[in-house]
């Protein structure tokens, strides 16, 4: 089943309600993470993706932490992104802002306001949009609660 997400925020794109919006409201269809075809790993809650003698890739359907939350945020932006019409900044701004410091506990995908601010600052400073996106969310992910702590955990 596809989950159609309407990225709300007409006000965001039209700060002056007396004028027509300059950009259409971004709409993205973000598919559900597709796990139903994957076989179950015996004696486990995991699903199996790939299995070779040297190793395997399983999937934890219940995984839920700062990295899954980060991924939900960036996927929301990437699925929205339409070069030439919907840029990364627009899509990021359109994503719901996280309401807590634990985005993985929130009911829907969200992006922290701090990340939106950091990304906007990078674009304003002239950093290429895609490189800025990579840096803010993945290379220097300090704006996203819990990510650095996970990465630096012993």
């Amino acid at each position: 089943m596809l989950l159609a997400l309407l990225l709300a925020g007409c006000d965001l794109f039209n700060p002056d309600p007396t004028k027509p919006p300059t950009n259409p409201p971004p709409v993205a269809t973000v598919p559900d993470v597709e796990l139903k075809w994957l076989p179950a790993l015996p004696d486990s809650s995991l699903k199996l993706l790939e299995d070779l003698s040297g190793g395997r890739l399983a999937v934890d359907p219940d995984a839920n932490d700062a990295l899954t939350a980060l991924a939900a945020c960036t996927d929301r932006v990437v699925y929205c992104y339409r070069p030439g019409s919907l840029d990364l900044r627009t899509c990021l701004e359109a994503a719901p802002s996280c309401a807590t410091d634990t985005p993985w506990t929130e009911p829907e995908a969200c992006c922290p306001a701090a990340c939106k601010t950091a990304y906007a600052a990078a674009i304003t400073a002239g950093e290429p949009a895609n490189r800025a996106f990579e840096r803010v969310f993945y290379l220097e992910p300090d704006c996203f609660p819990g990510v650095r702590a996970l990465l630096e955990a012993p």
């Binding site: 993470v33 075809w37 076989p39 790939e50 190793g55 399983a58 934890d60 960036t74 990579e134």
Partner: protein
């Protein structure tokens, strides 16, 4: 690695990330390939011991088929593709490998040989070698040792999924270019020796034609090994900088085990981008599905750029879609450039060797290209193709299903590696790094596919590492396990395996090194009363094989049949000479046999 790294029941022996290779256990492996292809045979066991002892022929021997099509295009005689039975002079001792014992295939010193075993093979089969062996010397020595530093046991060492796959970044561009260039240089170097031999024996009335053909066959065998890398470079799933290096020591990690773990995880991910049909089709729940997984499977956005030309491509498991295996204009560019590169390489070697199997008659229209050049290795998957690769694709009951490997999906992954107790999850720290690293990559790949779908920066490795492992273009240099560069030193143990197996090809070297004492040693060995009957027969055969190369029919330097100068006298003037005469016997081989075993 530990013996417990047994192959998962899920995995077929064809779980190789390259054009497919095949190994089958035929009841009569001496048959010609055309006969074998029509015979059902079980797949080889994935251990190296079995793959070194069987024919590399089967339904999905795509590399061999590519070599054969290349040979036809280059116009090499069909005889080049005949099954050769290479006699290996070895010992009766079993080789202890991983707790078991097998009959050794390691060529022994000639004056210690007590058994002869035959390696039935065609040159084309050896184009599959990099999927089964680390080098030609590794195959020549029966996969009885582990050439890969950081992996200890020969069986697991040659298991594709356990070890060979994790270090097969050299099957992807641009690393593959250096590996092809290495083997092409070896082939040309040996071919030059063949030409030299041919010039020296030109006045011998064809008596040494078998040596010339053996020499040429060795050169073609080396070219065939190299062609594997060239062939892979033209598989859609290989047209990108898969992360990694061909040596475990190049991977980050505190110790060999940690390095191997990262190599395994990177290989698992690389396989998904490459296209995982051969692996995923084997999943028990998926055997009824058609896993048409990009990038190797045919997809509209499965395209690559080659010298400024945008073209459609397919890869492993889909060889039959491209010309000349089918008439399909969609893949004309892929086919034309690849076969021009491949045929140019084979033809260059064959001509350099002297065309000893017959004159080459290349097909009309063959375009000559430097096979080591960027024209043959510069192709790259488009960003759109890479993004297509970031998914698992399958058809279920006629409906196409694509499971995107987007950031959310990969953030849920639980990577596991094989340990003595089975497959276990990696440490939480490595798992976190893995998920984060892969999330970053798939995110940027999908962004770039939207921005510039026909650019190739994702395939060019410009979006960085995975798990601290860099794109393969950043690892240069050839691993120590590779076949050594020429000239092959007599003291190089790996080269010695090859010089012994291809002893006729290396006749000049053996002529130079085999002095009177060495010849006597062969004779003494054949007379050793301690040998069993089979061993004595082998010792006699070996002795005659070499003695005849030195044997002059006559009694002394001033009294012999100068019209039958032996091979060594022609190749290496001044080499040891053996004088034998028997009334009524003029055949040098008969005289050599009688000298060895009266």
């Amino acid at each position: 690695m530990r013996r417990a790294l047994v192959l998962a029941a899920l995995v077929s022996s064809s779980a190789a990330y390259a054009w497919e290779s095949a190994c089958s256990a035929y009841a009569n492996p001496a048959q010609e390939t055309s006969m074998l292809k029509g015979t059902d045979a079980p797949a080889c066991q994935p251990s190296g011991l079995d793959t070194a002892r069987q024919r590399w022929v089967g339904r999905f021997d795509e590399h061999r088929q590519l070599f054969e099509a290349t040979r036809v295009l280059a116009g090499l005689p069909a005889d080049v593709s005949s099954t050769t039975a290479l006699p290996v002079f070895t010992t009766s001792e079993g080789a202890a490998v991983d707790g078991g014992v097998v009959a050794t295939l390691i060529p022994s010193a000639f004056d210690a040989a007590t058994r002869v075993r035959y390696r039935q093979v065609t040159a084309g089969e050896l184009s599959q070698l990099p999927d089964y062996s680390y080098a030609l010397w590794d195959w020549a020595s029966g996969h009885e040792t582990c050439p890969l530093a950081g992996a200890s046991e020969a069986t697991d060492c040659h298991d594709f999924a356990a070890h060979m796959g994790p270090v097969n970044s050299n099957h992807f561009v641009p690393q593959s270019q250096a590996f092809y260039a290495h083997y092409h240089a070896l082939a040309l170097g040996r071919a030059a020796e063949c030409a030299s031999m041919k010039a020296k024996v030109a006045g011998s009335g064809g008596r040494f034609a078998a040596f010339l053909r053996a020499c040429e066959w060795e050169a073609l065998a080396l070219e065939a090994v190299g062609q594997h890398y060239l062939q892979d470079a033209w598989s859609m799933g290989h047209m990108w900088q898969r992360w990694g290096a061909p040596s475990l020591s190049a991977f980050p990690g505190a110790d060999a085990e940690a390095q191997r773990d990262r190599a395994v995880l990177v290989a698992l991910v690389s396989g998904l981008f490459h296209g995982a049909r051969s692996v995923l089709q084997a999943l028990p729940a998926w055997t009824g599905y058609d896993v048409n997984d990009a990038m190797c499977a045919p997809w509209a956005d499965g395209r690559f750029m080659a010298s400024g030309t945008l073209a459609q491509g397919v890869g492993d498991n889909y060889l039959q879609l491209i010309p000349p295996f089918s008439v399909n204009a969609l893949y004309d560019t892929q086919s034309q450039i690849f076969f021009s590169c491949a045929a140019s390489g084979v033809l260059e070697v064959y001509r350099a060797a002297g065309e000893n199997h017959g004159a080459a008659t290349p097909q009309a229209g063959l375009v000559s290209i430097d096979p080591t050049s960027a024209r043959c290795f510069g192709q790259r998957a488009t960003n759109a193709a890479m993004a297509r690769g970031a998914a698992v694709d399958l058809r279920v009951a006629g409906a196409q299903v694509s499971i995107p490997l987007d950031a959310r999906f990969v953030a849920k992954l639980v990577p596991q590696v094989a340990k003595s107790q089975g497959k276990v999850s990696v440490s939480e720290r490595v798992r976190t790094e893995f998920r984060h690293s892969l999330s970053r990559f798939v995110t940027m790949a999908r962004i770039r596919a939207k921005e510039e779908p026909l650019s190739t920066d994702v395939a060019d490795g410009r979006w960085g590492d995975l798990l601290g492992v860099k794109p393969n273009g950043q690892y240069t240099g050839l691993p120590a396990y590779l076949d050594p560069p020429l000239p092959w030193a007599a003291t190089d143990a790996n080269a010695l395996h090859l010089r012994r197996l291809f002893h006729r090809a290396h006749a000049a070297e053996w002529c130079a090194s085999m002095d009177d004492a060495a010849l006597r040693s062969l004779k003494l060995h054949a007379a050793d009363a301690a040998l069993d009957a089979e061993a004595r027969g082998v010792a006699c055969t070996v002795c005659a094989e070499f003695a005849v190369r030195h044997l002059r029919v006559g009694t002394s330097v001033s009294d012999y049949d100068a019209t039958q100068e032996p091979l060594c006298a022609v190749l290496v003037p001044g080499s040891a000479a053996l004088y034998q005469a028997q009334p009524g016997v003029t055949d040098p081989f008969a005289l050599a046999s009688r000298w060895c075993c009266p």
